[in-house]
């Protein structure tokens, strides 16, 4: 448990002076995500430890190198959890990496994403300054929301040092129900249920079965179960963990893996490949060897965007191409934080 802010700050200042670029690295569990980044590795794992945890305040502040598992264990001791159920993708996953990648798990459509729970961030910008945005309170509208801007920016705007999060109590009970349904029918059904006051907390469809997780008080789950029918899935915790961590059998193939983000009720897409649905249909995993432009056009026509999540041409365009106007603003923001372009060059988009 130690504060390495100033060591890291000096490393950044040296890099600015020596005109070298930096590739920020944590545990390395999500090194596959995005484009490969140029630059000298800047390890942040030594900047580690929980700075403040106040269970009755529902607030936790920790350094970027703190292990996700470590944080989740401490929260679990108090009956609390990270509400966005982040994927780890490895035992070495850190909080900083989870926030920089901005990936959320099965609970996302019901309780929110990483960015929804980030209350404050302390970081080093590309001028070597240590900045502090937001704080440890839930409501805060002073200044631009620079903390949330850093979520999912893949370290291209600065080195995240400390993160303050809102946390939530863990539901008293969870059960998972399964239904034999074809994909189209499953999407319809789950979106109808999501429009009524049911205690849903996760959904998925693997091509044959719809899986529905419910969370809440035992009495609320009992009432919902009577209403929803279905079969109870044994060892459900394992199922959602495997899905979240891409250990599910669907992910054990060699073809490129795409993540599609779509309006949830969008019917199954007319493109070849195997598809696994999550988030009421809003997040879809597609295994296919199809050309990127076909996938991107099909998804964009339906108001979505596509990410080449794993495999394929990692040097190419990984995230959905931006419109010229969006590209300009993204570039301007990058330079506003990192004027010498030293942080994770090219990781998000080529030239960003």
């Amino acid at each position: 448990m130690s504060d390495h802010s100033h060591t890291l700050q000096h490393q950044v200042i040296d890099a600015i002076q020596e005109h070298t670029q930096l590739c920020i690295t944590g545990g390395g569990s999500k090194a596959f995500y995005g484009r490969p980044s140029a630059g000298t590795p800047l390890s942040v794992t030594a900047h580690h430890g929980i700075i403040n945890y106040e269970p009755t305040e529902l607030i936790l502040t920790a350094r970027c190198g703190t292990g996700l598992s470590e944080i989740q264990d401490i929260l679990a001791d108090q009956g609390q959890m990270l509400p966005f159920e982040p994927p780890h993708f490895g035992s070495n996953a850190t909080l900083g990496g989870a926030v920089a990648c901005g990936l959320s798990g099965p609970r996302r459509p019901y309780t929110g994403a990483v960015r929804d729970y980030v209350l404050g961030i302390r970081c080093i910008n590309g001028k070597g300054e240590i900045l502090s945005f937001g704080g440890e309170v839930v409501k805060n509208v002073a200044g631009f929301d620079a903390s949330r801007l850093m979520v999912g920016a893949l370290g291209t705007l600065g080195v995240i040092l400390d993160i303050s999060l809102k946390i939530l109590p863990h539901p008293r009970q969870e059960i998972t129900l399964t239904y034999e349904l074809a994909a189209e029918n499953a999407i319809n059904t789950v979106n109808q249920w999501a429009a009524t006051a049911l205690p849903l907390s996760a959904s998925s469809h693997d091509g044959q079965q719809l899986y529905l997780r419910l969370s809440g008080t035992p009495s609320a789950l009992k009432a919902a179960r009577t209403h929803l029918g279905g079969e109870v899935l044994p060892d459900a915790e394992r199922y959602w963990k495997d899905l979240r961590e891409h250990q599910h059998v669907f992910f054990k193939h060699e073809e490129p893996l795409w993540r599609l983000s779509l309006p949830p009720a969008t019917p199954p897409l007319p493109i070849s490949g195997d598809c696994l649905y999550e988030w009421n249909g809003s997040q879809r995993w597609l295994r296919t060897a199809l050309q990127a432009n076909i996938i991107r056009e099909t998804v964009a026509r339906r108001g979505g965007h596509a990410t080449l999540f794993r495999g394929g041409d990692r040097e190419g365009t990984i995230f959905h191409p931006l419109t010229p106007a969006m590209k300009t603003i993204n570039k301007n923001l990058k330079l506003a934080f990192d004027p010498h372009s030293i942080f994770n060059p090219g990781r998000l988009y080529s030239g960003l």
Partner: protein
Amino acid sequence: MEIELDPQPALNKAGLVTALLEHLPAHSVLHHDEELRPYECDGLSAYRQCPLVVCLPDSLNQIQAIMRLSHEWQIPLVARGAGTGLSGGALPLENGILLCLAKLKRILDIDPHNRTARVEPGVRNIAISEAVAHHGLYYAPDPSSQIACTIGGNVAENSGGVHCLKYGLTVHNILGLKVLTITGDVLEIGGQTLDSAGYDLLALMTGSEGLLGIIVEITVKLLPKPERVQVILAAFTRIEDAASAVGDIIGAGIIPAGLEFMDNAAIRAAEDYIHAGYPRDAAAILLCEIDGGKTEIEEHSRQIEKIFQNNHADEIKHAANESEQQRLWAGRKAAFPAVGRISPDYYCMDGTIPRHRLTEVLKQITAWSTEYQLPVANVFHAGDGNLHPLILYDANKPGELERVEEFGGKILELCVHVGGTITGEHGVGMEKLNQMCVQFGKHELSQFHLIKDAFDSDNLLNPGKAVPTLHRCAEFGAMHVHGGKMPFPNLERF
């Protein structure tokens, strides 16, 4: 109140009006003094300034034309919705155009299956929930001005409301924005998906107080209406007990939909006005709303009652039916106007603090209230530590407003000192520029200016608001304190 701007060349007002009239009908361009007067302030009426002209466009093309002129002529542009903001964010600039978006009030699309609505910025907050009610859906954020305030203004301010403890702020409840930049680009941010490619501009635009772009379309997330709602009132003899009950409820793993606090001054004012049935002698009351399924509510009600008892509540009242729930809420919702009845003027503060510092902060406010001889009524969102001390005063008494501002400034600085923030939901606007110098250091403020530059390098959109210049902070002399702890001995002055 002086507004800091770079010196502007003398403006040809007649020429500007003529140019605007090429794109807008005559009734949409107000430029005579008597037409401008109603727009001289927003909900913070202590600050007043007539703009050069007011534009009331009713289409995207008209907005684009106004923005093009603003850019070409280098005339500042201040956006305004219903003008209910409480921090002077929509205060006009003497040499600027006031862009009033209230005419853009069409609900463009309701998609019950994807649970979204796409609306224009001038749509009133409550009109969205009304329009989707027959689908069993609603839009969750409910600022107390919701019958009047616009969704565009809500996004610009990242508005909250009594239910944001459970359902979040505006930033958690919108999915997409269409934004016009001052350089004439259209930014399509997000949509009906839960995320989008590139930086999270949706988060950055939310709460940006009209400094980065003009929001012309919003896609909001709709939620299913809860099956049931229960409201519980608890009265306490000691403020400490009420504060500790708040922590205990959250600590028990219950997230109420709303958890509101009123002190004795607020209770009396509300009770005299609304007759909600509040105990007039209580030092504090808590109003706790929980929602969910029938059995879940019964379970939580029992738990909460026990917590109130353990914290020495003198009286616990469960609303027996919907009309009683509404009566209990009516007192809280009318608390501001109720205070308005007992004092010629009041000044509403908006700091947020960590919940466990509640008692000490309230005690300090009481001590200052005595020192300044200005009564204070406290009514606020206890669940998320968002304070709204109302300082009672009389603007007609010479020097009283200045004392109020000094007192209010101290409260906000105290909020920062205990680890909180100067504004939870009302925004910085014109009002809290000095306190921004207390909350942030020069590097953060410089970074904010750079973000502004990334969108609006000519500083034309709502200039002088939300983020103070470093020069102003140097004059205010507050940058020696940052986050209540870090000294800044080598303050740059320029």
